[in-house]
Symmetry: C2
């Protein structure tokens, strides 16, 4: 159902509803606390059934929010690959941009932290692209000799997951920018 490639375009009202549902979910997550489907439906101005017509279950809705965010991550990674100079800094900047992206999206944070594997399965294609772009950035940084030699491409999402946890918890005295800079300094050779 998730507008996956080759199917016929949705009716205009359906497409509008779908967008409204995702916006409503994002807004409710941004407001903090628990988010119920009934609430999402009400804010989106649709019936619950419509939410379930577009998203088979709550995890699928979360998964779509995650997927949209991964597209933004990938834009940042692609932009970093454009840069020719200073490969390590390009990688670092992309990670800073992605962390900032997560910082303004409570829904994705919630999905990352509390969501099961099924949430991520929805964004499998985007995660694949994420890993390809990341692998290229890491390879270039290695070639330049600026990156710690045992650092691997999967370490990027791993440490980003850690920073994301810090952002989401937001405890007193915590600062995710410091956290990321600490990690980046550990990555530097």
């Amino acid at each position: 159902m998730q507008s996956q490639g080759y199917e016929r375009p949705m009716r205009a009202d359906a497409r509008r509803n779908r967008a409204r549902i995702m916006d409503a979910a994002r807004e409710l997550f941004a407001a903090g606390g628990e988010v119920q489907i009934d609430e999402v439906a009400r804010r989106a101005g649709v019936g619950v059934g419509t939410v379930y017509r577009h998203f088979p279950d709550k995890e699928a809705l979360m998964g779509e929010l995650v997927r949209a965010r991964f597209r933004l991550f990938n834009e940042n990674l692609a932009a970093a690959l454009e840069r020719e100079d200073r490969p390590f800094d390009a990688l670092a900047e992309a990670m800073r941009a992605n962390a900032a992206s997560v910082a303004e999206d409570a829904a994705t944070r919630f999905a990352f932290m509390s969501g099961g594997e099924r949430v991520f399965a929805h964004a499998a294609v985007e995660m694949e692209e994420f890993m390809q772009l990341t692998t290229a950035l890491v390879a270039r940084a290695h070639a330049s000799g600026e990156l710690r030699s045992d650092f691997q491409a999967p370490d990027v999402p791993m440490v980003m997951c850690g920073v994301c946890a810090t952002i989401d918890k937001g405890a007193a005295g915590w600062d995710w920018r410091r956290h990321l800079e600490l990690v980046l300094s550990g990555m530097r050779r």
Copy 2:
């Protein structure tokens, strides 16, 4: 209700039930997936009402599991403070020990990741002690000149939270020991 200091000792059967409930919860979390209170009660061999007699709600049960784990964290920190030589290594070893501790406790991980502030409020006293011990370890490491000068005591739980997220997710190609070593290398001056 949480055997908080000055109240009269529990009846022997009540104390036994309380321990069984916590053990059951730990075991079920270790087995993975969702954990329901009914299930906890069944495995502990008590009625649901008994679970609610000992723990006002599910978060309180989670909070008690977190509290017990924080006591173990604090033992590790205290042991590190005993060491006279190499203050940075003492701090690093304590962090490794605590990460390993979290790695064998899925219940605490779940509470850390998904639990709200109320879960942590239960362990306020233990967290206070955690911060005092950590502050001492960080101060000593700073004095020895081995620790990055802008590193602060609250950064310890912050980065540990990140490593905990890595442990809990356990995605392919991730290795929380590598994650922690990367962070430690960022901490080293």
